[in-house]
């Protein structure tokens, strides 16, 4: 155990979790510098860092680093963290490693909500799109909950209802696209691929704001989340207000996924894989929120760097590369479940 204290407040964590968190933070910082440096045009490390935080250093760096690479890399970091966090909460609440927002239709619901907003009010502001995504995601989440509820949530029903709702949401998205103006539909389609290309400081601001709003309530309920993994009865007997904590955490998880979708479009597999890797690295018993967020950030930023290095004329969207990591993991989960392990 290790206790971090600051005056009267403090958090207790395992030494290993703390060490792994430090290493992940360092790796993330290094990867971030690499992301600012990567690509053509010779800009020094120092100039890159200055340009990234808005200190003018001269013609190419101010634009290439300050307006292109920095917002793109930071968007990847923040959205990756949102996805990692969202997946970690959902998987813990349902005690099921398959329950990630992209897998059970919540991201698809966010996508449908965002496209509907684009159709009805146009691409006015990112906040409006994000609100549309949030409404779509919450609607799908409520429907999944209603469909899988039978004296408590039945895990398999939840997964099946989620996959089904995902298809319904995708069909709705397709329908909205056919009704839209061709130009707008083409923009929306580009967004639906899921990418951090061309993201601006506005995207960074919205991502940071969403995270800043949702992170405190999530961390506040971290202990409740861990305790609920022992079963509802045990958690209640230990003084956790189970229904309230679960509702709060579920809404936060859904909103984190919706925010991520609004900013980058749906990017698959990060929310599925990041919490699982974080759990194996920290060897924690039960959910680890901060390491999951850090791992999500690392994965998405790394996947985007790989995407940029591909020798193709058109840049490949980052979702292609997250799928390359995520799909084998998913197959492994299914394989293990088919051999009678925990689903």
């Amino acid at each position: 155990m290790r206790t971090l204290t600051l005056g009267p407040v403090g958090i207790t964590t395992h030494r290993r979790t703390f060490a792994v968190g430090l290493i992940m933070s360092a790796a993330l910082a290094a990867l971030l510098v690499f992301a600012l440096m990567q690509g053509q045009s010779n800009i020094t490390v120092l100039d890159s860092l200055r340009a990234a935080v808005g200190i003018p250093v001269g013609a190419p760096a101010d634009f290439i680093v300050g307006q292109v690479r920095a917002p793109r890399a930071l968007t990847a970091v923040l959205v990756g963290a949102m996805l990692g966090l969202s997946g970690a909460i959902l998987q813990s609440l349902t005690r099921n490693p398959l329950a990630s927002p992209d897998f059970i239709g919540i991201s698809a619901g966010a996508g449908a909500g965002a496209v509907l907003t684009l159709w009805l009010v146009g691409a006015t502001s990112l906040w409006v799109t994000a609100a549309g995504a949030a409404v779509g995601a919450l609607t799908v989440a409520a429907l999944i909950f209603a469909l899988s509820f039978k004296r408590g949530i039945v895990p398999l029903r939840l997964i099946l209802a989620g996959i089904g709702m995902g298809f319904v949401a995708q069909a709705a998205t397709q329908y909205f696209l056919t009704r839209m103006d061709v130009h707008e539909a083409s923009n929306a389609l580009g967004w639906l691929v899921g990418s951090v290309t061309g993201r601006t400081w506005t995207h960074v601001t919205v991502a940071a704001a969403v995270l800043a709003i949702l992170l405190p309530p999530v961390l506040w309920h971290a202990r409740a989340l861990r305790t609920m993994e022992m079963g509802d009865d045990a958690a209640r007997a230990l003084g956790i207000r189970v229904a309230a904590a679960r509702g709060m955490l579920a809404v936060c998880s859904v909103l984190l996924a919706a925010g991520a979708v609004a900013i980058t479009g749906p990017i698959g597999f990060i929310a599925l894989v990041a919490p699982a890797i974080a759990l194996r690295l920290t060897r924690n018993a039960g959910v680890t929120l901060i390491p999951s967020a850090l791992m999500g950030a690392l994965l998405l930023l790394a996947a985007d760097q790989v995407a940029q290095m591909m020798p193709t004329t058109v840049q490949l969207p980052v979702g292609v590369f997250t799928a390359a990591v995520g799909a084998p993991y998913l197959l492994w989960l299914v394989w293990r479940a088919s051999r009678g392990g925990p689903a």
Binding site: I11, D233, A234, G239
Partner: protein
């Protein structure tokens, strides 16, 4: 007046109530066993006593207060529960599991205190788990695992402990291990213990107070010698039985009055 009691409690899961109006007083500082046939409502009553279920009528009183008007955390500081099938998070160690018992005493952003550490070490000591505190719970034997869960409830440091079938799935030696542990906790630490048990012999040997339930009502309550009579066993369990004196302790020993295949 005792700390924990049910007054005219009607309890169910919606639909027909399972417990149909019971008055129960849990004697302070004693071991109480709730017995009865399957489906008699004993587990339902237990769940209501620790506030997992709301009675539809009547009240559960804890220290004279309606338990449903109390804050969840206040209840958790006074009554601890060992549920029937708790889930140990994968890979958790014995000490980590026991430490979770401190949850109701902790606050967000308040670090692990010396008091928490003392309670956990003392719970590990009382359950003889100190030597294996770093073992992973999944890899323990059934008896050790049950002791770890009891230790978690102990670390919660509540004057009242409630256990739902604490000996189910254990072999006979481990069953008595758990019972002896509960007896020690009761005599040395004066904890009030309430448990649902199936084995009447264990109830008679270890409990000071027995509540026999049938069809959602209390059929009898009192000292084991007063409750375990041939008439009552017939009435509650629909079983013809002989009640002998336990050759070791002298407490009632209930044996069926028929041999194998119904021969008398």
């Amino acid at each position: 007046m005792t700390r924990l009691q049910a007054r005219n409690a009607v309890i169910g899961y919606g639909g027909d109530p399972i417990v149909r109006g019971v008055d129960v007083e849990v004697p302070d500082g004693r071991i109480t066993a709730i017995v009865g046939p399957n489906g008699c409502g004993k587990s339902t009553l237990l769940r209501a006593l620790v506030r997992l279920l709301h009675p539809t009528e009547g009240t559960i009183l804890l220290d004279g207060e309606d338990i449903h008007r109390m804050h969840t955390r206040d209840v958790a500081r006074r009554v601890g529960l060992l549920p029937q099938s708790p889930i140990a998070p994968a890979g958790i160690t014995v000490k980590e599991l026991v430490a979770r018992g401190r949850t109701p005493h902790q606050k967000v952003l308040r670090p692990w205190s010396a008091e928490d550490e003392t309670a956990v070490l003392s719970a590990l000591h009382s359950t003889a788990l100190t030597d294996i505190q770093d073992a992973v719970v999944d890899e323990l034997s059934g008896g050790q695992r049950q002791r770890a869960w009891i230790a978690m409830t102990l670390a919660q440091d509540t004057p009242v402990m409630i256990l739902d079938e604490p000996t189910t799935y254990l072999d006979i030696a481990h069953q008595y291990d758990v019972m002896d542990l509960l007896h020690r906790l009761n005599t040395r630490q004066e904890r009030t213990i309430v448990m649902v048990v199936h084995d009447l012999h264990q109830a008679a040997r270890y409990a000071h107070h027995v509540i026999a339930m049938r069809d959602g009502v209390v059929a009898a309550a009192g000292a084991p010698a007063d409750v375990f009579t041939e008439d009552l066993i017939r009435e509650v369990f629909a079983l013809e039985a002989r009640v002998l004196a336990d050759p070791v302790t002298g407490t009632p020993l209930v044996v069926p009055a028929h041999g194998p295949g119904g021969a008398r």
